[in-house]
Symmetry: C2
Subunit: 522 residues, 2 copies
C-alpha cells in the first residue's frame, strides 16, 4: 500500500466519502488510489473556487466534511475565497493540497510556492505530511479537526513522495491542532455566570433583541429560541447572512437583520440589550465615515450566550431550564402562499411573489441574489418548508458552488439558486459540474446587468460618482447572455422577462432531469 | 484632497497610468478619485484572476507596472494564482488591496481576513498604509519596489479610512521593503569571480550548453548570447516557459528545452557545463519517483551568469568583453514560412503549419496551449517577427488575461492567444473584458476536450490509471461549446475543424475590429 491509498482508506474510515477535486500532477497517486480503494465519490470542478464552494454546500447539508483535492499553492489559492466563506459560516472542510516531492521544493520549480503561508489565513488546522507512514493518521487528524456542523477548515499539505512511497496504512494519531485562530481557542463550554446574567436580562423587563445565527437557525433550536422570546417578550431576529436556516411552513418565522446600515440600526436602536446566540452581537458589513461598527445602540448592553462554535442546543436547554419555559408553545409559521400577482414585467417584487408560490416542499434555497433578490427572503416566510443557505464571508461567487455541493449531499431534494449576474460570473464554471453530475438544480440569474450593490455603497461611503466610477459597476458593455453561457457548459436555459414566463420556466425546470438555468431580466 | 486622491496622483507621477480593477465597497474612494484626477485608464475584470493576469501581460509589453485594485482578502486571494505566475516571470505589478476602516477590523466582519498573511507568499514588497498622510508616499514606494522589467510584486494594503481621510498629498518616502524573499535579497551586482570562471569554462573547449531566460530573451541580449555561443562553440537553448521572447524573422533562433522530462534530459545529458543566463540551471517541472530534479547530467557543472533579477545586459557585455567577441556576427533567422500543408482535419502539426504561415508582422503571441499546441513554437521560428509570452509559474489560467493586458499595452499590435480548453476555463471571464475594451485579440482554443497533460503525467509519476482517474481528465461530459461561451460574453466566435476553415477564420479575424475566438477541434 502506498501513502495515497492509506489516506483514502483513512478518510473513508472517518466517513468522508465525497471528494471535490481539480487534481494536477502532484495529486495523481491520490486519484489513482481512488480507483484502487473504491467508495469515494469524486466530483470534478473546472476551477478550484467551484471545488471549495461545493465542499461548503455539501457539508452544510451532509453535516460532515467532504475532502477537496487541490493542486499545489496556486490551486489552493484559487479556492481560498470560498474557504474564507466556509470558515465564516462555521462549515467543516478537509483540504488535501498536493505539493512537490520533498527534495524538489528547494529547486524553486515554477509551481513551488509557500503553500502553508497561503493556507494559514483560512485554516483552523494546518499540517504538512512528513512521511508516507504518517499520511493515514494525518488524514484522520484532519477529519477530526474539521469536525461536524458547525466545524472548521483543516488543511493537509501532501508532498507527492509521501503519496507514492509505501505505508503500512496505520500510524499513531496526533490530533493536536498545528494552528488555531481566536475562534479555535474559544472554550466550547458555556460560562455559567454568563448564562445566569443573560437569564437576568431576560427577566428584567428591559427590552431585549435576541439575534440568532449558526446552529440556532435549525428547526429545534429555533423552537427553543422562540419559547424563550415569547416567554419574556423579547424580539427575535436572525443574522443577515445565514449558513443554513430551516424555515417556511411548520417552522419558526424569524425576520432577518437588514443588510442596509440605516435599516438595521433603525430596527435595533431602541433595544436595551442584545443577546446573540450562535453568532456575535450584530455589526455592520462595512465601516463608513463617522459611523460605529455596532448595529445596536451605544447605550445597549451586548451579550453572547454561545458563539458559532459553541454548543448552541445545550446553551438553549440550560437557558430554558433557568427560565422555565416548559409550558410555552412556540408559534409556528402556517403555510401562507401569497396571492398571485398580476402578470407583467418581472420586478424584484413580482419575482419574489412567483418564487414564494412555486417553491416546492423540502427545497434547498441558495441565495446570492445580492440586491435584486432581497425581497425573496421575506416573501418565502410562509412558503413550503425549505432550507435557506447564504454566503457568510462576503466574498461573491459562493452561490453556484454552494448549490452544486448541496445537490450532491441531498440528491432527492430540489435545489434553487438565486444569483446576481455579477456574483455568478465569479464561479460560472460550476454549471459544467452541475451538468456532468446531472444535479437537480434550478439556477435563477437575476440579471440587473450591474454591480448594483456598489452604487448603494458608493453613496454610503460618501464618495462621489463620476463616469469612471459608474462604469466600474456597469455590466452592459457587452451584456452577458446567460442562456448562451449556460448552454455552452451543457446546462439547458431559458430567458424570461414576465411573471408568466418565469412561472412557465419554473414548471419546465421541475419537469426535467438535471440542472436548468433561468435568466430573469428585471 | 483625501488619501485616495493623493494615491492616484502619486501613481500617475510615477508613470503608472493603467489600473486593472474589480473594486468593492472598500475601494470606492479610490475609484471616485480616478474621476477627480483623470489620466488613469481603468479596466474592469469580472474576476480577480483576470485583473492580476492582465496586469502581468500589460507589464511584459509596457515594461512598467500597472496597478491592480482588489477588494479585501478574498479579492486578493482570487488574484493570487496569476500573481504567482507574474512573480515567477519577474514581472512588476503594484497591487492595491482595500481593507476595512482600521477600527472595523477587530469586529471580525464577514469580509475581515488576514490580508497581509495572504499577500506575503506572492509579494516581494508588502505594506499596510497607516494613515491618509502616508498614502501618497506608500504608493510611490510600491511603484519603486515593483521596478521595471524584470520587476517585482509590490502589495499595498489600504484601509478604507486612509482613502477617505484627508491628506496634504505629499509625504516622506520610505522605500525600504517591508518583506523580501530569497530573490529579493540576491545582489544585483554580477560577481566578477563568477564572470571570470564562466569565461574560463567557455574557453576550456569542454562542451557547454547556454540556457537563457528572462531579459536574455530580448532581441539585443539574444544577439550577444548568440555571439558568445558562436565564438566558443557552445549550444544555446532557452528555458521551457518564457516570460517574453523576441523571435521570428530577423531575430536569433533558439530552441527551447522541452517540457517532457525524457526529452529534456536526453537533450542535455552530454554537456559538461550548463551556463544559465537570466534564469537558473534547468530543473524539472515536477519531481518523479527515482529521478533527480536537475535536467542536466550529474557529472555536469552548473553555472549562473545572472539571475532573473540581475542586470543581464551588463553581464553579457562584461562576458563579451572578456571573450572578445567583437568580430563575431550573430546568425539571424531569415523569413522562412513553411509550405502550405494539405487541407484536411486539424492536427497539432497542421494547426502549427497554418499559424506559422499566417502570423502577421509584429504580432504578440500568448501561448498557453499546453499539450495540443506544443508544435507551434518550433514551427514559428521562421515566421514574421513577433513576441512570445508564456505562463511562467505553472498555474493554468494565465493565458487569456495575459493576452488581455498585452493588448492594452500595445494597442497597435495584433495579439494571438493559443489556449488549451482546460486552462481557458480558469479565467474565461477575460473574454468579457476583451469585448468591453474592443481589444485586438484572436483567441484560438485548442479544444482536445481533456486535461491531456495529466494523462502524460499519470504515466510519468508511475500511477495506475483506472476509471476514476481517467474521468478526472475528461472534459467531454458535457463537452464545452466555445462558440456559445465566447458569444455569451460578447466576443464573436467560430468553430473550425480543417486547415482551410482555420485559414479562413484567421483571415476573418484579421479583417474585423475587436476580439475574435476560434474553437479549433483537433
Amino acid at each position: 500500500m502506498n501513502g495515497a491509498e492509506s489516506l483514502v482508506r483513512s478518510l473513508l474510515d472517518a466517513d468522508v466519502d465525497v471528494c471535490f477535486a481539480n487534481p494536477g500532477t502532484s495529486e495523481m497517486h491520490f486519484v489513482a488510489a481512488l480507483d484502487k480503494v473504491g467508495g469515494m465519490r469524486c466530483v470534478l470542478g473546472l476551477f478550484e473556487g467551484v471545488v471549495t464552494g461545493a465542499a461548503d454546500g455539501y457539508a452544510r447539508m451532509a453535516e460532515k466534511p467532504a475532502v477537496t483535492l487541490l493542486h499545489t499553492g496556486p490551486g489552493l489559492a484559487n479556492g481560498i475565497a470560498n474557504l474564507h466563506n466556509a470558515r465564516k459560516a462555521g462549515v467543516p472542510i478537509v483540504n488535501m493540497v498536493g505539493e512537490h516531492a520533498s527534495w524538489h521544493i528547494a529547486h524553486d520549480a515554477p509551481l513551488t510556492s509557500d503553500i502553508a503561508g497561503l493556507a494559514a489565513p483560512v485554516s483552523h488546522w494546518l499540517r504538512t505530511c512528513e512521511s508516507a507512514a504518517n499520511l493515514a493518521s494525518d488524514g484522520a487528524d484532519a477529519v477530526a479537526a474539521a469536525g461536524g456542523l458547525p466545524g472548521k477548515i483543516a488543511t493537509l499539505i501532501v508532498p507527492a513522495n509521501t503519496a507514492w512511497e509505501s505505508s503500512t496504512g496505520k500510524a499513531q494519531s496526533d490530533p493536536s491542532p498545528t494552528l488555531t485562530d481566536d475562534q479555535g481557542s474559544t472554550p466550547e463550554e458555556i460560562d455559567p455566570a454568563n448564562l445566569q446574567r443573560i437569564a437576568e436580562v431576560l427577566n428584567s423587563g428591559e427590552s431585549v433583541a435576541i439575534v440568532i445565527g449558526g446552529a440556532a437557525l435549525r428547526s429545534d433550536a429555533l423552537k427553543s429560541v422562540a419559547r424563550i422570546a415569547k416567554a419574556r417578550g423579547a424580539s427575535l431576529f436572525c443574522e443577515t447572512f445565514k449558513s443554513r436556516m430551516e424555515r417556511g411552513a411548520g417552522r419558526v418565522p424569524v425576520d432577518a437583520i437588514p443588510y442596509r446600515l440605516q435599516s438595521a440600526t433603525t430596527l435595533l436602536e431602541d433595544f436595551e440589550h442584545i443577546v446573540a446566540i450562535g453568532t456575535k452581537p450584530p455589526i455592520a458589513f462595512f465601516a463608513y465615515p463617522d459611523t460605529r461598527s455596532e448595529l445596536y445602540s451605544e447605550k445597549a448592553e451586548a451579550h453572547q450566550l454561545a458563539s458559532l462554535f459553541q454548543n448552541v442546543p445545550k446553551a438553549l436547554d440550560d437557558l430554558e431550564a433557568i427560565l422555565d419555559t416548559t409550558d410555552v408553545i412556540a408559534e409556528l409559521q402556517p403555510l401562507e402562499l401569497p396571492v398571485r400577482c398580476e402578470d407583467g414585467p418581472l420586478t424584484p417584487g413580482s419575482l419574489a411573489n412567483v418564487i414564494a408560490r412555486l417553491l416546492p416542499e423540502d427545497a434547498i434555497v441558495v441565495d446570492e441574489s445580492v440586491t435584486a433578490g432581497r425581497e425573496i427572503f421575506a416573501a418565502t416566510q410562509g412558503s413550503h418548508t425549505h432550507d435557506w443557505l447564504e454566503v457568510c464571508g462576503g466574498s461573491i461567487g459562493g452561490g453556484l458552488p454552494l448549490a452544486t455541493g448541496a445537490a450532491i449531499a441531498a440528491p432527492d431534494r430540489p435545489v434553487f439558486c438565486f444569483e446576481g449576474d455579477g456574483s455568478a460570473m465569479y464561479t460560472v464554471q460550476s454549471l459544467w459540474t452541475q451538468a456532468r453530475e446531472s444535479l437537480n438544480i434550478t439556477t435563477i440569474i437575476l440579471a440587473n446587468q450591474s454591480y448594483d450593490i456598489l452604487k448603494y455603497e458608493l453613496e454610503n461611503v460618501q464618495a462621489s460618482s463620476g463616469e469612471i466610477a459608474l462604469s466600474m459597476m456597469d455590466l452592459t458593455r457587452p451584456s452577458l447572455d446567460w442562456v448562451a453561457m449556460s448552454e455552452s457548459m451543457g446546462v439547458a436555459a431559458r430567458k424570461v422577462a414576465t411573471v408568466a414566463e418565469l412561472e412557465e420556466a419554473l414548471k419546465h425546470a421541475a419537469s426535467t432531469q438535471g440542472p436548468f438555468l433561468i435568466e430573469a431580466r428585471l
